[in-house]
Amino acid sequence: MSRIEAKAVSVRRGGRAIVDGVTMQMESGQFVGLIGPNGAGKSTLMSVLAGLLRADAGSVALDGVPLSRLHRRALAQVRAYLPQSPRAEWPVSVERLVALGLTPQLPAFGGLPGEMQASVAAALEMVDMTDHHDQPATTLSGGELARAMLARALVGDPAIVMADEPLAGLDPRHALDGVDRLRKLALAGKLVIASMHELTLAARYTTRVAVMHEGRLVAFGPTARTLTSALLHEVFEVNACVTGAGTPAAMVDFVPSSSKPL
């Protein structure tokens, strides 16, 4: 059981609060969708929650221990983080790319121990990338790369998976596939936190939504109760129509708020 607690977290840049007094608690088994307009502070909040960026005020604790007191390798073993559109810088094989996810578990020198090769194979299997194991990672398509990166994040069996816009740039089939995998991870007992702009997918798959607006957390709770037309109108400044939030048939549709008939 893992639990992340943020208390009054604030991040300031150039005199402006990018994240402003965010307090929230999340725990294993939840799939938290972080939503909000561009520039609302989602990525910054995610970096703070992942322990990559230190908050200017407030604190984040993992199972009651402040992140600032955890060793970076110890933290890396329990939480995986995927930044926005991750890419491979060298044409290494998919297998080796995935094996990099085991970096925190490895000794300073030497190759990959045998039992770890089994975890790499298992991670590849989990995202259906076994056939591509030998292919250079730079030649993968967007959907394949997203799956390879997810395998990279999962190979060390972390308790917490954080992904910054994991569905960005994916076609509908791959986006559905991706969000479904994240949901299954949460069902399997992990804490999954993902920022996303695909509100229909958020309404269908997430168990909780955290809504950010101008650095503040304006709503946080179970998807069915929290994701409402009124909230979306307030945050995104569009007329939204939300039906069946929190169910597999949920729909979110938008109309510009000051639109004239076409």
């Binding site: 992942a50 990559l52 060793h71 970076r72 390798r73 933290l75 890396a76 073993q77 939480r79 995986a80 983080y81 995927l82 930044p83 991750p86 890419r87 491979a88 810088e89 060298w90 044409p91 290494v92 094989s93 080796r96 790319l97 990099l100 996810g101 970096t103 925190p104 490895l106 300073a108 020198f109 250079p136 990279r152």
Partner: protein, 329 residues
């Protein structure tokens, strides 16, 4: 795909051939029989003297310098994830050159033979400290700081040439800058070896981190890599190894750039696996170039090492640019 064993055998054979050539070639040709005779019966004969006082220190220095260039080139390309990165990028080589030139300029090298390498190492350290203190905080700022430090050190070199006390001093400085392994003795080898070995250690410690950097800085940090520490180790290692190397040989370009590219496709592009082969290839290339300077027939001066590596290295650079142009959209 070439087998791993075959590849290792090939590299070892090449290295051994280069070492033997380097020991045998020169104004006096020592054929292998004489070479082995001199090694196994160390009695003060002429071949033995040539070997122990000239050829062996020169060959060892060539190995150390070439391996330093190849290794630091591989680490820097991995750290900066830039195929054009090379040891000179961080201002270290220019700093070493400036230190050595100051020793020549003030005539210190004439009174105390080791003054040139000692001041060269000091110059490399100062340049590295400057790059590190200005370029703290990011990879891009570190590259920019390195460029600025290189420029500053280059200005110092020009100043020394500008105010050279007499034409022969200016000539001596210019010739030294072109790089050479000629007439290097055991004193210089023993002076720089500790710096180079500590430098190698620093560079080797980055091995896991540069692998993780294949995923970019954000993911590497999320995997527990302390990027500031990695940057520090890479720069300090380069300053120690390449700084000390440049301090005794003068500027030898392109080897640090070329060696990693030659081996990368054979090791599956994984940054950590490039390090050792790149160091070995750096040594092979440098020894081979040094042998070439001895056998290329010239009227007076022998071709300087740095000139030769530039003549061979520049076309390679063109090829690299063309390859990158094909790959980018």
């Amino acid at each position: 795909m070439v087998g791993k064993v075959a590849l290792r055998a090939l590299v070892s054979a090449l290295l051994l051939a280069c070492i033997l050539l380097s020991l045998g070639t020169g104004r006096v040709w020592l054929d292998p029989a004489v070479l082995f005779g001199a090694i196994f019966e160390p009695k003060p004969s002429l071949p033995w003297l040539i070997l122990s006082e000239l050829r062996i220190p020169r060959t060892i220095l060539g190995l150390l310098v070439g391996a330093s260039l190849g290794l630091s080139g591989a680490v820097l390309q991995g750290l900066l994830r830039n195929p054009l990165a090379e040891p000179g990028l961080l201002g270290v080589s220019a700093g070493a050159a400036l230190g050595a030139v100051i020793a020549i300029y003030f005539g210190l090298s004439a009174t105390f033979a080791l003054a040139t390498p000692v001041l060269g190492i000091a110059g490399a350290m100062m340049a590295a400290a400057l790059t590190l203190s200005i370029g703290r905080g990011g990879t891009l700022t570190m590259i920019l700081a390195g460029a600025a430090v290189s420029g500053l050190m280059g200005a110092g070199l020009s100043l020394a040439l500008n105010f050279a006390p007499n034409p022969s001093a200016a000539y001596e400085i210019t010739i030294w800058l072109l790089g050479s392994l000629e007439n290097r003795d055991w004193g210089q080898v023993l002076l720089v070896a500790p710096f180079i070995l500590i430098g190698w250690l620093c560079l080797a410690l980055t091995v896991r981190d540069i692998d993780a950097l294949t995923l970019g800085e954000a993911q590497a940090e999320s995997l527990g890599v302390n990027i500031a520490r990695t940057r520090w180790l890479a720069l300090a290692g380069t300053a120690l190894a390449v700084g000390a190397a440049t301090a005794v040989t003068g500027s030898v370009g392109f080897i640090g750039l070329i060696a990693p590219h030659l081996v990368r496709p054979f090791v599956g592009h994984q940054p950590s696996r490039v390090l050792l082969p790149s160091a070995l290839f750096g040594a092979i290339l440098l020894l081979f170039a040094d042998v070439a300077t001895r056998v290329i027939p010239t009227a007076g001066q022998e071709v300087r090492l740095g000139v030769l590596t530039s003549i061979v290295g520049a076309p390679f650079f063109f090829w690299l640019v063309l390859k990158l142009r094909r790959m980018s959209p």
